[in-house]
Symmetry: C2
Subunit: 303 residues, 2 copies
């Protein structure tokens, strides 16, 4: 049995990936309070918003205010999604220090999700990353549908590797490969991770998992066994993807922390305090969240 | 990475472990129809009821009718829980071919769940197993709280091993070790399985997992890696344990099948047909079920 990493970095994506599909507007102050609660729980990297077109995603129209509002919290690295030069300009104005760009490993998904071919998106991002770097920002790159595409089915791992190499070539410092519809199984995780680590250091690789099929934690475990030590998660399991049929629920941060705690892997994150952050946002949304720990703790009488 | 088993036996426990905590009586005919649907889905071993005292568990007062009613279905091995000589007599009268006895690895849990010490329970079961064997029945043995006890916390693996050896010594042919409150993590699964397989063949070992903390599938994967090839599951994730605080939801059969299918491990079970069986019982109960696949498939419009 391979040794597991002794420490894992968790990238909290709830404020962005979690909230982006919520139809009812969440007040900017609530979003900032949510981020503050996450940082208080020990989360040291939080993706706080996305500078997509306000008309396309009204929920994130306040991206500038959120990014500016969380900056004084300190104690964590905040990032924001940036789709293009316009978004980058807004991110720079808001004082964002780290951005993320996002493409896919499946052409059909790329066209439907970002309305570009993968090639086109990499051209746009080369320009965005150059601009970001000039302003002293660091950049993360997402690759959606890195395992299974809702339109094309299983995605060849070599396609994921190619896109990852091209993202690294344009200046991205971390690659987050996404199981966008949550359909991956451990064999697929192992295959993709082993394929990628032939070409670049495993330290640059993050797994972004969804729990639609209930396999997020088993996929984390397969990732850990393959050497991955960075995982994205969303408080309470908030979120999904509007362009991916059936994609409901990111890997819940509490569930991830429970597993890692149990495996003796250090995260610096306090499960109960993440739950407190989840309760805050669940109350604002007026509904329960799908995470297993969230539901267990809520049933205990805590929410 | 160790090779995984090429084939897994699934023991479906929904009709017993799933239904035993339901307050509203489920009609006997519905229970039998549920079992029939499970067998049609390819499940070849189904625990159909429990011959506990009818006053203690009114839901299972019809154990004799259920056991007699499923016998003509054929195509599967049906079993029933038997707590004592009185239960055994009823099981014999109903024509049951396989029974299961149940004790625990934690004294506190044993006393609260079956009102006996572990020693006392093994004495009672020695007698029950002898009687069952005389009547040509085979016997499975459950060990509850084999990882974590809700009252005592982590359970030493040597205690599990000792109870397992004593069950085998009285004539049980399979040991199902249970994560009764669903709190186990992969490290604990690996430790217990490796401890047990030092003393008896891994073929005699089954894992009975709950998904309370969301770790059932990752624990299955750890079990597979340690060589386990028999897993209990409950259609739709129906069930829990009334004496274990916070224990809600068995590992869902659909979730298990999805993982095993994805790993290329043969089960003979059809996920969609298990879902059909889950829909049948969910409709009878008038509510949704907690399994991940169940919820995903139900959201698709199937239920």
């Amino acid at each position: 049995m391979p040794a597991l990493p002794s420490r894992v970095r968790i990238v909290e994506v709830g404020p962005r990936d979690g909230l982006q599909n919520e139809a009812e507007p969440v007040p900017t102050g609530t979003k900032i309070a949510f981020v503050r609660a996450l940082v208080e729980a020990g989360l040291r990297e939080v993706e706080v918003t996305s500078f997509v077109a306000p008309l396309a995603v009204p929920q994130l129209a306040d991206a500038g205010q959120v990014a500016a509002g969380v900056a004084p919290i300190g104690g964590a690295r905040f990032s924001a999604l940036v789709p293009n030069r316009i978004g980058l300009r807004r991110a720079i104005e808001a004082g964002v220090e780290r951005i993320a760009v996002f493409t896919a490993a499946s052409e059909t998904f790329a066209r439907r999700n970002i309305n570009m071919t993968i090639d086109e998106s990499l051209g746009v991002f080369a320009d965005v990353v150059a601009g970001a770097t000039e302003h002293g920002m660091s950049v993360r790159g997402y690759i959606s549908t890195a395992f299974v595409c809702p339109y094309e089915g299983p995605v060849p791992k070599e396609r994921v590797r190619d896109v990852a190499e091209r993202l690294l070539a344009i200046g991205v410092d971390e690659i987050a490969v996404g199981d966008t519809i949550g359909a991956a199984v451990p064999g697929g995780i192992t295959d993709v991770v082993e394929c990628l680590r032939e070409r670049f250091p495993i330290e640059r690789l993050a797994l972004h998992l969804h729990d639609t099929y209930g396999t997020a934690l088993v996929n984390v475990y397969a990732g850990l066994q393959a050497g991955v030590a960075v995982f994205d998660a969303s408080a309470g399991g908030l979120g999904g993807c509007p362009y991916a049929p059936g994609a409901a629920g990111n890997l819940a941060t509490e569930d991830l922390v429970y597993l890692l705690d149990g495996l003796g892997i250090e995260t610096g994150v306090d499960l109960e305090k993440v739950f407190a952050a989840s309760k805050l946002i669940a109350a604002a949304l007026g509904r329960t969240l799908p995470g297993r720990q969230y539901r267990r703790l809520a049933a205990r009488g805590g929410a």
